[in-house]
């Protein structure tokens, strides 16, 4: 993308004199700025969505005052945070206190460099993309420990120590789960990984249900692996039910206790950046990234009809179970289905890969994370370790072996 942008800059007569390296540097800067803007805007939108989602789950309205339906609430909050006094506790380790939040933010923002949003929308097409993302995102823990230690507050220290233990424990099963996928693709390049999931095929290779070639449908082992990864990643980004580092009812605010104003906002920003990153990774690795779930426009028409059928069944189920009529899923899917049957252009657009599908999949995963957060209680720190070392780690090892055997059985690899 950087080279494309540089070429585009050089194509203007007035700018062509600047030379290739200057143009390249300029486009590098532009891309970096774009990524940061994406992360910041994304956080603002997600905070609003999270507040609304939590409100609807809790029979409330959520923010309603600032802007229409409270849409400007998070903007107002961000402005308020910017204005707040910057407090550094007297006994804090000043240097670490200041750089801690920035380490976290930088580590979570630079990972987006390797994330492909579509076949061209990709800052750096690295052949070790997955490795890069996993390794850079684990720097976050360093910033958390820095911030927690520097605050010179016992609660912060507890939060930081818990966080370090938790993130390091969960890195291992998550890494092994990802290796299982890498074994299938044979590459660490995220773009290659997405391209390997193109087209449609049978569910688990043999069951004759036509489904996209996504890795979640590749084998039962990768199906489990997707959930193992989601659980591990939820723990890695410190979200409920694994939010023990900042568990507000126990540790006040964990490692963030002493932070205020802009520095606190940085933690918030990186939290949502990490959540987005995990959602994007799940959709890239297991859900086919920017690939459309439909092979062609006929596939789109049939697929949407199936979705409508599911929506009808869902509506009937909800009606029978609670006596309430929830028409929104049904109405939405009906509208899309009718549009897909009436306008082939719409169906073709739906069937073509692109950033729309990437964001749709990531959005679904983020909604899932929010759903977890507002439904589950929090685990205790030793139960968290139990889940990691005694449940998820063995499961991921079995998955890795299982995937290898599966590939040998299906003839994807020969010895």
């Amino acid at each position: 993308m950087i080279q494309l942008l540089a070429n585009w800059i050089l194509s203007f007569d007035i700018l062509s004199g600047m030379g290739n390296s200057v143009a390249w540097g300029l486009s590098l800067f532009i891309v970096a700025a774009l990524i940061f803007v994406f992360v910041a805007a994304n956080a603002i939108v997600l905070v609003y969505i999270e507040r609304k989602v939590s409100a609807f789950m809790q029979v409330r309205l959520g923010p309603m005052r600032v802007g229409k339906f409270g849409t400007l609430q998070t903007v107002a909050d961000a402005l308020k945070l910017l204005q707040k006094e910057d407090i550094i506790p007297k006994m804090a380790d000043k240097v670490l206190f200041i750089i801690g939040p920035w380490v976290i933010l930088v580590a979570s923002v630079v990972t987006f460099a390797a994330i492909p949003f579509s076949d061209t929308l990709l800052a750096a097409n690295m052949n070790i993309g997955l490795f890069y993302v996993v390794s850079i995102s684990s720097i976050v823990v360093l910033g958390i420990v820095m911030a927690g230690w520097a605050s010179n507050n016992k609660w912060s220290l507890y939060g930081a120590m818990r966080s370090a233990a938790q993130i390091i424990s969960y890195e291992i099963p998550v890494g092994i789960t990802l290796i299982a996928v890498v074994a299938v693709v044979g590459s660490l390049n995220l773009q290659t990984m997405i391209q390997a999931q193109a087209g449609t095929g049978n569910l688990f290779h043999w069951i004759p249900i036509p489904l996209p070639n996504w890795f979640i449908f590749h084998s039962p082992f990768l199906f489990i692996a997707a959930f193992v990864y989601l659980i591990g990643a939820t723990a890695e980004i410190n979200r409920t039910p694994f939010d023990i580092p900042e568990s507000e009812s126990e540790l006040v605010a964990g490692f963030m206790t002493e932070f205020s104003g802009l520095r606190w906002a940085l933690f918030f920003l990186s939290e949502y950046a990490n959540a987005t990153l995990v959602a994007l990774l799940v959709s890239i690795i297991f859900l086919g990234g920017w690939q459309s779930p439909f092979a062609d426009y006929e596939g789109a028409q049939i697929g949407f009809s199936v979705i409508t059928l599911v929506a009808i069944m869902w509506t009937l189920f909800v009606r029978a179970k609670t006596g309430r009529l929830s028409v929104y899923p049904l109405g939405l899917s009906l509208v899309i289905t009718i549009a897909a049957w009436l306008f082939p252009g719409f169906a073709i657009w739906m069937a073509s890969p692109g950033i729309f599908w990437m964001l749709m999949k990531a959005g679904t995963i983020i909604f899932l994370l929010m759903w977890f957060r507002w439904t589950f209680p929090r685990l205790r720190v030793d139960q968290l370790m139990y889940v990691s070392w005694k449940v998820i780690l063995p499961l991921s090892l079995i998955n890795l072996m299982g995937v290898a055997i599966w590939m040998w059985l299906t003839g994807e690899i020969q010895f």
């Binding site: 589950f376 929090r378 720190v381």
Partner: protein
Amino acid sequence: MGRLHAEEMVLNMGPQHPSTHGVLRLKLRTDGEIVSHIEPVIGYLHRSFEKHAENLEYQMITPFTGRCDYLAAIGSEHGYAMAVEKMMGIELPERVEYLRVIFAEFQRIASHLVAVGTFGLDVGAITPFIYCFRERELILDLFEMASGARLLYNYIWIGGLAHDVPPGFVEKAYEFLDAFDERVAEYNQILTGNKIFIERAADIGVMTPEVAINYGVTGPSLRASGVNIDIRRTEPYSIYDRFDFDVPLGQGLQGTIGDSWDRYYVRVLEMNESAKIIRQALDQLPVEGDVKSAIPRRIRPPKGEIYFRSENPRGELGYYIVSNGKNVPLRLKMRSPAFSNLSVINEIGQGWMISDVIAILGSLDIVLGEIDR
């Protein structure tokens, strides 16, 4: 292999802490995550209730009682009014008794809703808390209809009630009760049966019946340990002997008898029982009757003393009143249930993790206004 011991650290939990249910301060001696000693430090909400009472006329004390246990103001007022009435030998009209029971039980439901919701909050579940408060609002609406206030009512007066209930109250109360069982099922669905919740609450902070009795623990926390003591049943006061209700006991359904889960679940069951009592009381409520007819002009209890106990949502609420025949009590002592309940925290909370201590504290359901008085 023994457990590795590291240097101990003293951790001050509170008085400003999200989960100490007010301004309680816990001094924790911690070894890593394990808490080896808990020392509750109280008094941050001390308002000299008992000293105030020595300088106030009997009827002027009523609003102060509500401020002690602010989540169950009617319970405190009811106990106080009954104590003074017993001293003076006042016979109450039937309608007053029924209305008092109805409000006391509504208050019990409201108080348990807060207890259940905040316990969920303590273990990290936020949504059930909001659900509980949704129902509590409906109860507070009923209180507002009757007394005009939503938290501190000053509704039960010595010898009667401040006002009769307005028209439409009974219908609205029935309406609430009809929907309530379904709502309790909703809490059970989202919290009680949740695997993570059970992991966090079951087998944590087990209180054996011996420990509970030795520390003077009363109320749901005692009954969760399997001790069948409910003053409404063992020494029926007011008109509680006319109603048919069960006293839920801890059964160790998910772990051991007397664990935090039991203390939580006993409260959930008690809400259903209270709803049952209210329904019976509403059915039997006499239509006629002046709620103010028995209010004495001059409140001067004869010389003597009385200890009167009643079942507050948190346990046994006792009033010890010494009268020298004047319009001001010589001494008023309040035996507050949460004070005794809190004293057990070191015994049952030792050796657990910080997170568990918070869960145990939440399961005891304390109100600091009443502990500090």
